[in-house]
């Protein structure tokens, strides 16, 4: 049978209260008793029962991690890495993570994740864009929550966000510094804050270098997803004659699509066109040339979110703090100096 706190108490000749104090560091215990208790714990291989502890503290020791199924199943290990960051940090904080997905088109009548209904989590982390009606329902549940990489409509809730504007500035400035002026932007729709900010950064960079912003060089819609989007957008841009010498794709998935289009159509990267992405997904090893990009510290997004959530849970305050995680310019093979033919 699993040893209990009683066994430890008996073995070390103290009361169960003292054992509890030692386990939780909740009251001063003399060094020698503490050592005796610790020894007993070790020799019995004692672990406090979660359910007993949770029952009396009213906590669950669990944290829910929620994202849409399409995000979870994405080809690029973006959200899975974020999850890993969260799970990793959870270990050291003593929490368990319950991962669940909701449908991309979560309906008002759909069930909330079971751990919310049963209130079997102390808080939840929401990663990526989720339907508004889900957020409303979550809100109504009054659970502490932290959002990663998405700004919920009401903009309360603590968030961990990517510094998208800064990243887009860095990417675009990198191309500018290489001598490019005809720089295209390929992005997603306008309903995700990230796409909006990455476009904003692109425009800001051009402006500060006094390069005119041409709408004909900007394609931003979300009729398609990821690579397919990049491919189609590139087709739209390059089928017209507009002497594009560099492309900033708002994420790596799209950049890979662009790359594919350019290859299929006899344009060399970076000789004819420089290409930079965003995210630094663990791209295909086979990708050639390797992609210059803006690195998003995915693990860090996850760890920061967990820390933030634990703070909220412990402080009971609903601080609506925003953490902006810095990004990094990664120069690889797909960008090079502008050299007109």
């Amino acid at each position: 049978m699993k040893p209990t706190i009683k066994d430890v108490a008996k073995k070390s000749g103290v009361s169960i209260a003292t054992v509890s104090f030692v386990i939780n560091n909740s009251k001063p215990v003399s060094v020698e008793t503490r050592n005796r208790v610790l020894k007993a714990i070790k020799s019995l291989n004692f672990r406090p029962s979660n359910s007993a502890r949770d029952l009396v503290t009213g906590k669950t020791g669990n944290i829910g991690f929620i994202l849409t199924d399409d995000h979870f199943l994405r080809t690029e290990p973006f959200y899975t890495r974020i999850f890993l960051g969260t799970e990793f940090e959870a270990r050291s904080e003593g929490y368990y993570i319950l991962l669940t997905t909701i449908k991309r088109d979560f309906k008002e009548t759909d069930n909330l994740p079971r751990f919310i209904i049963d209130r079997n989590v102390d808080g939840v982390i929401v990663a990526g864009k989720v339907p508004h009606c889900f957020i409303e329902r979550l809100s109504a549940s009054n659970l502490p929550a932290v959002f990663i990489d998405y700004i919920p409509p009401k903009n309360d809730y603590p968030m961990v966000l990517i510094d998208n504007i800064q990243g887009a500035l860095m990417a675009t400035n990198h191309l500018i510094s290489l001598g490019h002026t005809n720089i295209a932007f390929i992005g997603g729709g306008t309903e995700h804050p990230s796409w909006v900010d990455r476009l904003k950064g692109y425009k800001q960079a051009l402006e500060s270098s006094n390069i005119p912003i041409k709408n004909s060089l900007i394609v931003a819609n979300d009729k398609f997803q990821g690579r397919q989007n990049g491919f189609n957008s590139a087709k739209m841009l390059f089928s017209k004659k507009n002497n594009i010498t560099a492309v900033f794709a708002a994420n790596d998935a799209m950049a890979i699509g662009v790359l594919k289009y350019l290859r299929d159509n006899g344009k060399r990267v970076p000789q004819d066109v420089s290409l930079i992405g965003f995210d630094d997904i663990e791209a295909d090893l086979m990708l050639s040339p390797t992609l210059s990009t803006i690195r998003v510290p995915k693990l860090e997004l996850g760890t920061e979110a967990l820390k933030l959530l634990v703070n909220v849970i412990k402080s009971k305050k609903s601080l609506s703090k925003k953490i902006l995680v810095p990004v990094e310019l990664i120069i690889r093979e797909s960008t090079s100096i502008y050299s007109p033919k």
Copy 2:
């Protein structure tokens, strides 16, 4: 405050025992009392506390899901789909899933997942290949466990496996039925049972059609992973002159690598070379031609494993049942009739 069983008892004018009987269907309760209790539960929005219940039953209501980090982060959403199957089934069985990764090179001295150390799961599901020393440690923990898509060395433990031989037979026979006879096999190493079986099926198919097995047409090593492996293996095969007209790649990731190699080297698929994979991963939409393959029902692997584990947990018997999940031939564009030039 969260309502308790007491509130329900009070509201419906019965004892908490009766409420418990209703909740768990553990003793006959008269229809009218049952209805009264049910009404009270609903009106109070009562949910039994997991920790209280777990404390008295000695269960945790949790199941651990373990895989190596590289599997979890794989480009192809293979294991993530399996997880989703498990998680889905867990919902209806009333379990929560604690997902955690271990390192691909898990060392003897590494910590076991926390939920095992703390015994905070009633059982675990292990997906994909994991280090032997991990399995030994898991074994020592005496937790019920089920393996998915991997046969642990000692071969005890219940397993949910893919019918690899059957799948490889179907794939190879498909190529044979199209008139191909010079069929190459590209696989992984020999230390994963799946690779071994897929090769076995390939050979069996050739034999039953009286096509000689040529070792020169077989490449099976795991110096590289996934696509890269396929690419390199294809290079090895096609740089010699051996009139290969069809390739069976032991998984889709490798098949995509093969496809890439063939494209880069002016071979058309399927006109010059037919290509079939295995797994039916949600391949790149941009893949052209679309890949014929053997579909592995990934969600089903996950759901079956959970059902099996729950059985083991409930029956307390360590039945070492093996479930062989059937696969399906999916014919798409990458395979066509052999037509010599």
